[in-house]
Subunit: 194 residues, 4 copies
């Protein structure tokens, strides 16, 4: 089974998610620069979520680049990932409108955690289907970034109720962790070709 439609559908959903978030930045009434000030937290939460969605798209791209055969279970395992990503605009909007208050910041972490778990399950499905010589398994290796992200999200959720900025710092830290270029899959593919 080809992977073009799985990729096209995922690209479509992710492209829409990343773009409709901007609809939460409502056009203000008033023509002076000061009317933009209340939008700053909404804008900052948009930037953070844009980064996260961009990272997910990039990782999704690399993961399926290392996947030759698409199976039915992969099609199904892809849907929960898209589901949790689709809730990011809502969580982003609630967090931005309430200036990173405790409960919205915790919910944001819950959505990120669930998306990360869904991504991990999808990755395991692909590795399992590729058998003992899985290219993807070699590429992700111990997957310390994935594991560390899960732990940090799980810490950030309760932390939001104690110290909201600590929670936010963890979300920003995890995003930066993934922004550092990750050549694992590219390297393994290059070595496999050679």
């Amino acid at each position: 089974m080809g992977k073009s439609r799985l990729e096209a559908f995922s690209d479509g959903v992710i492209a829409i998610i990343i773009t409709i978030m901007v609809l939460e930045i409502k056009v203000p009434h008033g023509e002076v620069i000061e009317t933009l000030v209340p939008l700053i937290p909404v804008f900052l939460s948009y930037v953070l979520s844009f980064l996260y969605i961009g990272i997910y798209w990039n990782n999704h791209h690399h993961m399926f680049h290392a996947t030759q055969n698409i199976t039915g279970p992969m099609l199904w395992a892809n849907l929960p990932l898209l589901f949790w990503l689709s809730l990011i605009p809502f969580a982003t909007g609630w967090m931005g409108e309430n200036h990173f208050a405790a409960a919205p910041s915790a919910l944001y972490g819950v959505v990120l955690l669930m998306a990360a778990i869904a991504y991990w399950i999808l990755q395991q499905r692909i590795i399992a289907s590729q058998g003992p010589n899985s290219i993807l398994k070699k590429a992700v290796g111990g997957d310390w970034k994935g594991k560390l992200s899960l732990i940090l999200y799980a810490v950030a959720i309760p932390l939001a109720f104690l110290w909201q900025w600590g929670s936010m710092s963890l979300y920003v830290f995890v995003a930066l962790l993934w922004l550092i270029p990750d050549r694992r899959i590219e390297n393994v593919l290059r070595n496999t070709d050679a």
Copy 2:
């Protein structure tokens, strides 16, 4: 005639439908967790509709995977399916906002029924064009799932006015029926290749 654009257009429309439904979950005013409570029925109806749209995308994917030649009538028969699917966000929003009341639950069933009929007509068009050795015909066989779904939707619509939760249970049951992996098309394709 190639099928890439039919698939790309359908993927685009389905991706947008599945994503704009989330816009019905309006960001609440208030920063405590309790402000999310009124959103629970809206969220649950979103989950159900996400499942349905995901199932339709999956089945659409499999159906056209078993289709080599696209004819003009298939292009036209695809449009009513997209039309009825496009009404799911409206029906979902109305049902969620009114806590699964009678009329909205019945309308939800009408939209599901019409989408299922449109899907069935599209399937018949493809089978007819493939002639007596239709791969798709072998794959769907007696199509008991499709027929049972139509019957259950038709029962659920009037039932909504008598016992709304019975109606909802039928919608959930049909969704679960389709979630159970369906290897029919994959199996037939494998046997045909062998």
Copy 3:
């Protein structure tokens, strides 16, 4: 230059246009069937516009199916078509909310007329680039449907101010005219291959 991105971009824009129109059907407050009654004109105008966008997608598909080489001018000539199609949701919403009143019905005709002119210019560009043996020129022939549509839109616009239902009837008539399967391009391609 390949045509895949031109098609993909056009498919994306058309898929979004056809889907965001449904956002104009606002979820009503009230859980009885009667609350849907005021939405009937909005729904009917949605159905008409869905038909038009579906027809444009179908014709666009066939036109580029008969086009091998994409030139820069074609890329530019495609944009005005997408621009005018993008105004259909606005015109549809205004017409539906005002129960097919004179001015909204006339504006709807103006948008349809401009889209039809943009389509015609794009078609002429392709025919001109294909030279004297243009497949597309053979396929569209005298293009009586295209010419008749332009005339009927031009009649319907002023008619809206005199007799709004006459105007609406013309819009429906043109849509039905295009729904009748049009095998011209398919036939010419088949004869060319043979």
Copy 4:
């Protein structure tokens, strides 16, 4: 690494951006033509932004047409471009609702400037990866259009506070500059093939 998904994702995001701008043109309450008058500035700012997004799509298309190998850094450098383009609907809406007032017109210029810088960085990344015989480098040459655009945006931003129509004229002028067909990349590709 293939470029199909980079193109598909970019096409998706750009298609959504160009289309959701039209949602800012709110359907007016009132059925006479006069109710459209207040929408004229909103419509004009939509036309300008549609042109800009169309130009960006066209240039993006040409740039990647002259790019054979996609690297990880290109995937990342593409995201800031999409980010700044995604803010155009907001800037367009604010500018249109406030009849091209000073601060909204300046913000519009800031978003255009940042998008242009992001585009330039992406272009440099591709040229760097192509080495000394870069096709793209030959194609863009001195890139006087790109450089002049940056200067004009930088002039237009402060100018908006002194003379808003001068600022708007610069935005329109830059758009027209790019609308004049630019055969650079096509010509270089033709010569390279020959």
